[in-house]
């Protein structure tokens, strides 16, 4: 009797276990892990990137080959590298993702990259800009940008304006360091002299003492770099309160200082400022107009996209192109071969491609000036440097 009960019990348990077990993905569901900084000091730009990713998926799901589905699994790295590493491990080992994408912060990307080498999972970085990250794993490909790509040209441009001295003030983490080093190289190559540098804590809200330092040094130009988002408005406000421009000090930076969604908050203090960047909402190319129309339809007239949105959008475009080419069945190495040779002549940013040797993005860098268009502030593209490869990798060849 007891044996019968035990037999029945174990049969029941077995049935329950089978029913409760996670259904294995159907052969044609591509599972993609999205690691993003939903909380923390970069939550705003993380939201922009997520909206870009979601928009592409929503508008192009129907273009997938028949029977192929895409499933995005989101995880929050809370802006901390150790948490990012843990969620990446869970996505790979427990959720069985075939691809990883996303990541805003370079320290998080640097923590996740070695895992992708070990587990052989392609990692499509849609923001983190640290120059050396693609070298951490052969499965990393980046579609966003590097700070060297942007800061070296603006350094050269600043020197060309006849400005002789510069002071750099940047956020004290990887992208800040990259932008500082690149601007210094570009500016000194153009014949300028750096008279001082300061770094402030990455999630610092209070810029007044640092701007005071810049003002007291009296450079011709100040290079101010902060992660795009509310900090950009905060540092511009401090610059305005302390009368930096009135003191005759020019301000320049990359697009992170004047992100399109913060321009209305920064206000007229930004007028006339020139920055380098990869994407501006004001660009008139047809691909951008179509992107903006789709964005407004999905998120309403008040939502403003920025470069992070377009990077997320383009990242998903590359992934979808790969899925379509392989009909949803691909090994990691096959995916990487596709990614390395991917190009898109019609991104909202203009023509973009991946450099097969470095697995990093090659794109136009635009010099933009803040002007008023139709009563609103806009980053108007005034010059284009075509198809810029990341200069740091050329200066520091891989061994």
């Amino acid at each position: 009797m007891l044996a019968k009960v035990r037999g029945l019990a174990s049969a029941l348990l077995y049935a329950v276990a089978l029913a409760a077990a996670p259904t294995p993905a159907s052969a044609q569901t591509v599972r993609i892990g999205v690691i993003n900084s939903y909380s923390g000091f970069v939550a705003q730009i993380a939201d922009e990137m997520q909206k870009g990713i979601d928009l592409y998926v929503k508008d192009h799901e129907k273009d997938l080959p028949p029977g192929v589905k895409v499933e995005l699994i989101r995880r929050d790295d809370t802006s901390k590298p150790d948490v990012g590493k843990r969620v990446a491990q869970e996505l790979i080992a427990r959720d069985n993702v075939q691809l990883l994408t996303g990541v805003i912060l370079s320290p998080v990307a640097a923590a996740v990259a070695p895992l992708t080498a070990e587990a052989k999972i392609p990692f499509v970085i849609t923001n983190a800009a640290g120059v050396a990250i693609p070298r951490l794993s052969p499965y990393v490909v980046r579609v966003s940008f590097t700070l060297w790509q942007e800061s070296d040209p603006i350094g050269k441009w600043a020197a060309q304006q006849g400005w002789k001295t510069a002071y750099t003030a940047v956020s004290d983490f990887i992208p800040g360091h990259d932008s500082e080093a690149a601007f210094i190289k570009g500016f000194t190559d153009g014949g300028g002299k750096i008279i001082g540098s300061v770094r402030f804590p990455p999630d610092n809200p209070d810029f007044t003492p640092f701007i005071q330092r810049v003002r007291d040094a009296k450079p011709d130009v100040a290079f101010l770099w902060v992660p795009a988002g509310p900090q950009a408005t905060a540092i511009m406000k401090a610059a305005q309160e302390l009368g930096l421009r009135q003191a005759g000090i020019h301000i320049t930076s990359t697009q992170d200082l004047l992100p399109d969604e913060e321009l209305p908050n920064i206000g007229d203090a930004a007028l006339g400022l020139v920055t380098s960047g990869t994407y501006s909402v004001a660009a008139q190319r047809p691909a951008n107009l179509a992107f903006l129309a789709a964005w407004k339809a999905a998120y309403g007239a008040k939502a403003i996209p920025d470069f992070a949105s377009v990077d997320g959008y383009d990242g998903m475009a590359m992934i979808f192109d790969m899925i379509e080419a392989t009909k949803g069945k691909f090994t990691a190495d096959q995916a990487m071969v596709f990614f390395k040779n991917w190009k898109d002549p019609n991104s909202p940013r203009g023509p973009i491609m991946i450099d097969p040797e470095t697995r990093d993005i090659v794109q136009n860098i635009y010099i933009r000036k803040v002007e008023k268009l139709g009563g609103k502030l806009a980053n108007v593209e005034i010059a284009t440097i075509p198809m810029v490869k990341d200069p740091w990798k050329a200066l520091h060849p891989a061994k």
Binding site: F200, D203, P205, D206, T208, P209, F210, P230
Partner: protein
């Protein structure tokens, strides 16, 4: 004018503004910790709540600045009364570890609530144009908003001091801080006194959190991230006084600004070193009771 002096003035001015924000937030904590002997690690929650109310009213509803600031103070003060009555009251005179656990629990709950209600993004304070920009005085450029903070802080500090020294309510507070049992035996309703003082301290914290939104960002992690700063002000100032946190906030505020200007590469190192040195010299704080 000598540029080093003008830089010192500008940094000192900004440090004073930061000091006022710290003072407004911490003075309530000092008085209630001294009076009730209650370790309230959740004090930052009230400052954060004030910050969310004020930024929410201004950013989403276009409320005038003064209205939003007052609303923040009043709303937080009122909301603190049931919290004190229902939760804190149970642990007066109780085990300190219990008080720590309760208030830390409140800190985490408030962070989750803020995240749920307002999202994870920092809430910036959109100042009206009249309050932005700088004031050019002969010897330097000063932020107009910093000036406002300093004036507000000075006025409130004076009002608090006058209230404490000259009013009956203030006398009752001083009595209760000095010797609770004696205060009770001369007929002071200490239970009502606690509620009112707690509400006042929390309201001030809410005001400080709101006014200081651009110096200490309003985000779900606020109460935990800034706890150490508030505790440092209270520890250096001494429990149970309103003079203590004022002096301590001045020291911390100006030192923080000066360090950012002179030795930014060291971060907050000097603040902590100064705190340790001061506490070694005066373990009860500068104005604490022996």
């Amino acid at each position: 004018m000598n540029s080093a002096l003008s830089a010192a003035l500008s940094v000192g001015f900004h440090g004073l503004a930061f000091a006022m924000v710290l003072y407004l937030i911490s003075v309530g904590l000092s008085v209630t910790m001294g009076m009730m002997g209650f370790i309230n690690l959740a004090h930052g929650v009230f400052a954060m709540a004030g910050g969310y109310v004020m930024t929410g009213l201004i950013n989403d509803h276009g409320a005038p600045f003064a209205v939003a600031a007052t609303a923040a103070a009043v709303a937080v003060a009122l909301a603190s009364i049931p919290v004190e009555r229902l939760l804190y009251r149970r642990l007066y005179g109780g085990d300190e570890l219990d008080q720590v656990l309760l208030t830390m629990g409140l800190v985490f709950m408030s962070g989750a609530a803020a995240h749920y209600l307002r999202g994870p993004v920092q809430q910036p304070l959109r100042l009206p144009h009249s309050l932005g920009g700088g004031v050019e005085l002969g010897f330097g450029e000063f932020s107009l908003y910093d000036s406002l903070l300093i004036v507000c802080g000075a006025l409130l500090a004076t009002a608090l001091w006058l209230g404490l020294e000259r009013s009956r309510f203030g006398a009752q507070i001083r009595a209760a801080v000095d010797n609770l049992r004696m205060a009770q035996s001369v007929g002071i309703d200490t239970s009502r006194l606690f509620s009112l003082t707690f509400a006042l301290g929390s309201g001030l914290a809410g005001l400080g959190g709101g006014l200081g939104s651009n110096l200490i960002t309003i985000a779900p992690g606020y109460a935990l991230d800034n706890l150490v700063y508030f505790l440092i002000v209270v520890a250096i100032g001494g429990l149970g006084s309103i003079r203590g946190p004022f002096v301590a906030a001045m020291l911390i505020g100006v030192a923080d600004s000066a360090c950012d200007y002179l030795v930014p590469q060291f971060g907050a190192f000097f603040i902590y070193a100064m705190t340790m040195a001061l506490l070694l010299w005066r373990p009860r704080g500068l104005f604490g009771r022996a």
